[in-house]
Amino acid sequence: MSTQLTPILTKFWDHPTSWTLQTYEDNGGYQGLRTALQTDQADLVQMAKDSGLRGRGGAGFPTGLKWSFLPPPDGGPRYLVVNADEAEPGTCKDIPLLMAAPQFLIEGMIITSFAIGCNHAFIYLRGEVAHVHRRVQRAIQEAYAAGYLGKDILGTGFDLDITLHSGAGAYICGEETALLDSLEGRRGQPRLKPPFPAVAGLYARPTVVNNVESIASIAPIAAHGADWFAGMGTEKSQGFGIFSLSGHVTRPGQYEAPLGITLRELLDMAGGIRSGHKLKFWTPGGSSTPIFTDAHLDVPLDFESVAAEGSMLGTRALQIFDETTSVVRAVSRWTDFYAHESCGKCTPCREGTFWLKQIMHRLEAGRGSQDDIDKLVDICDNILGRAFCALGDGATSPITSAVQYFREEFEAGMHTPAAELFPPERSTLFAKESQPA
């Protein structure tokens, strides 16, 4: 039996004014909040746990468990910070969600804040998406006007303010402690853990940091129940998620489905690989997750199955590349990205990504030396698990996995430029339209 799509967060994205409070309420919005505000706070945390919801930002940590790590209230402030710094290469789910239906996030934030005893929540939104800022600003404003935010929400005595905070172009700020430093007005560099944000987060106060899609999913969970959510997906990876298909597919886009769907099923819906071509390699969850090949078409896209095959589910960012693509070129560019975005705080990542980039560049240019592949793998080995945060680990994923599956292309990098083996113009979507010399 094939897996079916389950439009929940994406359900009314095609409405002409999908982003308004009116459209959201017409589609059942804010029902969950009304129920939640009548529920005991501990029961809401339990609801999140029972639903099986795991962090949708990539790491997959159980959301309810994260909430339960907050120490008991001591009378001081507690914070919810939403990570809307979506910037992992290939990941493109939170930004369209916030553009089309930002009220999901606002409702989820109110419920979560009530559950954890927070009265001031923040949205850290990357700065490079002007229109999404406008939509989120507007959603917050509409929620205040309707009495969902501010003082004495729906007559319950619960107060909540939401502040939208703009980032300024730094991938590292998607790391939760770097995000907190950035929100405190500092350079976005990760903090030593422990203490974890649950104990000492924003302004050293107990803080929950969750991804946009995780918090947005809380709204329908509160409306329909933990069992409803847990009934979807697989035994250990419950619920639904947005799968983002991009690259050499006929119909790239957002496909909301239960966890455990396969790439073969998704490709079938997306019209397959672009006409006349075949799948070469793909990322299951962004560039920081080791690549897969056509041997992995039937791997269920849930946390456990993807991990068992040596990668990570990550953000379900399925970047698809066909046989015209040079894996060396692709990996070289990702390596540029990590070197550019390394915050410089720790030596393995700062120095390691610098050297990885030099080696990848000469392999791409066909000027690699005999021991370059071993050196790449060795440097990766020295970064992985030794960097301060996951950025360094992520930098090694594309390299080690590409060497594993396509070693011969790296070997060719010792004598032949990638552009000669894989002329770049054949990979473009306008291959016929322009005729490069």
Binding site: A87, G90, Q141, W334
Partner: protein, 254 residues
């Protein structure tokens, strides 16, 4: 443009913050202080206001000026070095006068492979400028940008952080020509026009520009899954005992 050892670096180049010792005019300074007070009031601790304040400085000066750094330092009780340290960490803060429009071509792997590299090269040649350089008329600053979370619309180009989806070298060359000539330009998904760098910087500092209701909710790629679900009559499971509305109620293919 400075020429230093990093000029060949394809991704970023280091230029010092340009000091601007010329003080703000009195009315400009009064406006900045009033706006800054609003920004600072949003946060429990005032240092949190630094990122939006730097966007605010750019909304007036077009880049992070020395006088802007001084003002932030004064308002937040920080040293100039602390403010500069933050300003130089983030790529959206410009260290030298920026063009009226930042045109960023995504050259991260996916967009690059699908055509971003060719778009950047052709537009760069067309304009006669490279990465992080500005046309002599001060209109366009060209950049290579990292993944902008629109991969299903690749290749993607951003103009002052508005989405231009499914680009070609021709469409992007037309985009920069139109921006330079002042012809009306509408993003694929966004407001009905591209605001200036200063206007967008003000919006990012948290001041609304009233354009939220313009443009589409979602582009075609964002709706692919929904379209197929509708076509095939697929819906999320109904919660038991609930009268949850469903868009379609056709028989499900099992």
């Amino acid at each position: 443009m400075s020429t230093d050892a990093h000029t060949d670096d394809p991704l970023h180049r280091y230029t010092p913050l340009q000091a601007s010792e010329e003080p703000y005019a009195e009315d400009v300074l009064a406006g900045l202080r009033a706006d800054a007070a609003q920004i600072i009031a949003r946060y429990p601790q005032k240092r949190s206001a630094l990122l939006p304040l730097l966007h605010l400085v750019q909304s007036v000066d077009g880049y992070v000026t020395g006088r802007g750094v001084d003002l932030c330092a004064e308002l937040l009780d920080l040293t100039r070095a602390e403010v500069s340290g933050v300003a130089t960490f983030y790529t959206q803060y410009k260290r030298h006068p920026n063009g009226e429009y930042t045109v960023g071509v995504c050259t991260n792997t996916l967009c690059a492979v699908l055509g971003g590299d060719q778009i950047f090269d052709e537009v760069s040649e067309h304009l006669g400028i490279g990465h992080d350089e500005t046309t002599p008329d001060g209109k366009i600053t060209l950049e290579r940008v990292e993944c902008n979370a629109a991969c299903d619309f690749a290749p993607v180009v951003m103009a002052n952080w508005e989405f231009f989806d499914n680009q070609t070298p021709e469409s992007t060359k037309k985009l920069v020509d139109d921006l330079r000539s002042g012809a009306p330009v509408a993003p694929t998904r966004g407001a009905s026009r591209v605001c200036t760098f200063k206007q967008v910087s003000r919006m990012l500092a948290g001041f609304e520009d009233g354009l939220a209701d313009e443009g589409v909710g979602a582009g075609p790629a964002s709706l692919e899954g929904l379209r197929i679900a509708r076509e095939r009559g697929w819906t999320a499971p109904s919660p038991e005992g609930s009268t949850k509305d469903t868009a379609t109620d056709e028989e499900k293919d099992a």
